[in-house]
Subunit: 363 residues, 2 copies
């Protein structure tokens, strides 16, 4: 320890160590002269000021909350829904003075959490006071670790764990509404582009087996909705061409759309996100398939870009969800010690927004 501590300052100033603490945190407890003297000595010694760790250890509070998300940071923040989460968190005034700690749960960390003695090696307690978990696969070890460490947390979208604070939407119902819009327009040859069913890097067409064993809850739920509505319209799983993009980004979406549009004879595409939908429109454009005249495309999310693109989509309140989650978290953080708040689940409504990327089937 090359650094100067309160003890050193106290020694040099000829006062007790708590007096130094007071000089910084409780000016009223000291005479002005005393305080000034102490701060001068501190400056002379190059004391960097109180170390947060000491304070935290006593107070039990860290002053930071954590955000857990899949993928590397740079990938995660290229995604509109991650940005929406950040926006929601930063809109909560109470959180304005706490730091936000990012836990990108890339594979390295995932593996180490798994392999560790089942205590879970992802040490969180003492690093953050609470966590917001956004869109993690089912049974992700990080969620288990958070539970074990008894940190307050709120989950956005996924996973859905009994007895935890949760904010989401009715993904299955919204998906039914989404594909029903196309069915109502007379489409029967429908392709489906989903971003990811499992974070294992797979891209390409998927079969029912992969669908049923998917670990990404919201995509699985939406796909379930598609299948349910399709069945009600007399279409089976095999009548739908389902392509997994393998990523959340536009490039993955364009590749998936290319595969879908060049190897299948579809008149409409359901995408499980607006990013995928817009990637599909781009690809359709490149393939000279006018939208909506020869191809209908419907998205999900209603991201800001969707308006300009005239994309028909399912609107969900992405920012509001994050705001609500952040509020739920602060409630827990503010609860008196020992008081256990009853977990609540909040499901936000969604709505169909018809713009110009879908039309009645022709030919």
């Amino acid at each position: 320890m090359a650094t100067v501590s309160m003890k050193d300052v106290a020694l040099a100033a000829g006062v007790s160590q708590p007096a130094v603490s007071y000089a910084y945190n409780r000016p009223a407890k000291l005479s002005e002269a005393q305080r000034k003297h102490i701060l001068e000595v501190a400056a002379k010694l190059g004391y960097p000021g109180p170390n947060v760790m000491g304070r935290s250890l006593r107070s039990g509070k860290v002053g930071a909350i954590g955000l857990m998300m899949m993928d590397k940071l740079s990938v995660a923040f290229a995604d509109p829904s991650a940005i929406a989460v950040l926006r929601g968190i930063s809109e909560i005034g109470e959180l304005e003075n706490v730091a936000l700690t990012l836990f990108p749960l890339n594979n390295k960390r995932l593996e180490s959490a798994k392999e560790a003695t089942n205590e879970g090696s992802l040490a969180l307690r003492g690093l953050v006071d609470g966590l917001i978990i956004s869109t993690l696969p089912d049974n992700h070890p990080a969620v288990l670790a958070t539970l074990k460490q008894k940190l307050p947390f709120v989950i956005i979208d996924s996973p859905l764990v009994d007895g935890t604070f949760f904010v989401g939407i009715d993904d299955r119902g919204a998906a039914r509404t989404q594909i029903q819009h196309l069915l109502d327009l007379g489409h029967r040859k429908i392709g489906i582009i989903i971003d990811r069913l499992n974070p294992d890097g797979y891209r390409g067409p998927i079969n029912e087996q992969r669908f049923r064993t998917a670990s990404e809850r919201i995509v699985r739920e939406r796909l379930t909705g598609y299948v349910e509505a399709a069945e009600a319209a007399g279409l089976g799983f095999d009548d739908l061409c389902v392509i997994e993009a393998g990523g959340l980004d536009s490039t993955s979406g364009q590749t998936a759309a290319f595969t879908l549009l060049t190897s299948n004879d579809v008149t409409a595409v359901v995408a499980c996100s607006d990013v995928m939908a817009m990637a599909c429109m781009k690809t359709a454009d490149a393939l000279q398939r006018p939208v909506p005249q020869t191809l209908s495309v419907i998205g999900f999310d209603d991201i800001p870009e969707a308006v300009q693109a005239g994309l028909t989509t399912i609107g969900q309140p992405m920012v509001e969800k994050a705001v609500f989650a952040a509020q739920m978290l602060t409630e827990q953080l503010n609860a008196p010690a020992g008081v256990h708040l009853e977990p609540r689940q909040k499901i936000f409504p969604t709505r169909l927004i018809v713009r110009h990327s879908t039309a009645r089937v022709t030919g």
Copy 2:
């Protein structure tokens, strides 16, 4: 403290408290039976596992690094250069298992840091082991606070502080090259769009006074470069129409471009970022001013989108800069206690990339 601690576990298991510590961290120091017994008792008591604070206090390491940036998170991460910083940081393997703590230096925090006794109230020590500071205005109190608290840190782009680790480019020289390209094409009526000279919310045309007192170093430097090159070509400051967008985002850029293009008779526009340049191209399109036939536009940064847009620009290695900064930081973090590394400054080269948004002046 409602939570169980090692002491409680030790008591219940009939062992010493350090033995519990060993059970978690030094399995080899205990017999297998002993260890198993301890972990069982811990599980029975609901012990959440070692608290990072205790460990940190002893070891002096937190296991997190900080990232300081202007603006709210949601705004910051809409900016390609912030994404590049994240990408750079996450590319450093050594940083893969440390958490990244974000300090968005919004005005609230800024004010509180300012007003605080000049000790600087932004408590960092103990929250993070080191910091990357990206593009902060000159004399930002957070930088002073970091210096005072003697935390290892690296600054990317701005501010430029003597005796600190720094990664940047030759902004002034690059800017000269940038505008020179237009001058070489015969342009003399040149408009300039800059994002921000001061984070005070101002938008609109700027005069020399505002330019000379600007706190945003890189923009000030680039503008200096423009003026120098313009003067060498016989143009004064007042011959250049300089518009400050007041923000880093496309919407601010489009507003600025609209002002510039509708109230001035320019044949070319220099933008101090690709985001601004692309916003300008969009606005030009809306105003029916074909680029480059009737208007040349040159950007700065070479963001990924620039390629597709055919934007002529100044390329700078944004990700490499962040990688280098992250490496400099880890070097400091890994240095043996007491060893003071000599601060270094790294200036990366830039280059002119001519695409299709600039052309010889006509008429």
